[in-house]
């Protein structure tokens, strides 16, 4: 069975705000697959551009909201793909990242990519439901 996880706050519905043809997350087979998480204001949907660190804080806040609304949590992440705009920021990512995954961090891969709207970081994650 495949079940849509709705946006817990209106800002997190990227389809409504930006026309992306995607659900916020899908629960299937005991896992939760999240759409790429971006630094979007969870109330208004406005883009929150900033430093990689500030963008990552917003993203983890949104991810926490989304996962907890689905009965999961940041402690239940199993895999993270962290996309960053420039590999020079790898250490910066790690500093902010470890604050959110203190309890047995998930598997992770980091690579450099072009992220939408010129954001500096995006997280693509799978968690257990």
């Amino acid at each position: 069975m495949r079940e849509v996880i709705a946006a817990p706050l209106p800002g997190l519905d990227l389809r409504q705000h930006y026309g992306h043809h995607q659900s916020p997350a899908i629960r299937a087979g005991g896992l939760i697959f999240c759409s790429g998480m971006l630094p979007i204001d969870p109330e208004t949907g406005e883009r929150r551009h900033g430093t990689l660190t500030s963008e990552a804080h917003v993203i983890f806040g949104n991810l926490k909201l989304l996962l907890e609304s689905a009965g999961s949590s940041l402690d239940r992440l199993v895999q993270v793909h962290a996309l960053i705009y420039d590999s020079i920021e790898y250490d910066v990512l790690n500093r902010v990242y470890r604050q959110y995954v203190a309890n047995g961090p998930p598997a992770r891969t980091v690579w450099t990519a072009q992220i939408e709207a010129g954001f500096k970081v995006e997280l693509d994650v799978i968690a257990v439901a």
């Binding site: 069975m1 495949r2 849509v4 389809r15 026309g19 992306h20 043809h21 995607q22 659900s23 916020p24 997350a25 899908i26 299937a28 087979g29 697959f33 999240c34 759409s35 790429g36 793909h81 996309l83 990519a113 072009q114 992220i115 939408e116 995006e122 693509d124 799978i126």
Partner: protein
């Protein structure tokens, strides 16, 4: 019993383009309840030849083929849970999104789109995970 892993041989084989990689890649692999689909580039389903076009036309080619591949493996577009779309430029994201929206029924799967340097001058690569 541990969940089984099964390589699914697509039919017709030309459609998946994997034969070009000398069998180093399986286009479809089942693991447990999930079907994992390799990143697809735009290929002609009959000849297996690479198709070069716009971001929109490559997206259309890929999704036509993806639909066939999923259905041949006992899945379908409405069982897809997550899609990753790689584009040669994020400026093309709206062109991809417009075509993409015509293929996936409601409610659409989760999705991540990013820009990356793609092999073989491809403009689009799409990979996904589906339920079987």
């Amino acid at each position: 019993m541990s969940p089984r892993r099964e390589v699914i041989v697509a039919s017709p084989l030309a459609r998946d383009g994997a034969s070009r990689f000398g069998r180093a890649v399986s286009t479809l692999v089942r693991g447990g309840d999930f079907l994992f689909v390799s990143g697809l580039t735009a290929v002609d389903p009959d000849s297996g030849e690479r198709v070069r076009g716009t971001t929109a036309s490559e997206t259309r080619h890929i999704l036509v083929n993806l639909k066939q591949l999923l259905e041949a493996a006992g899945s379908s577009l409405d069982k897809v849970v997550k899609v990753n779309v790689l584009l040669h430029s994020m400026l093309e994201a709206p062109n991809m999104n417009e075509v993409y929206a015509r293929f996936f029924p409601e409610p659409p799967p989760a999705r991540t789109v990013c820009g990356a340097r793609l092999p073989d001058d491809a403009k689009v690569i799409i990979e996904c995970t589906a339920l079987v």
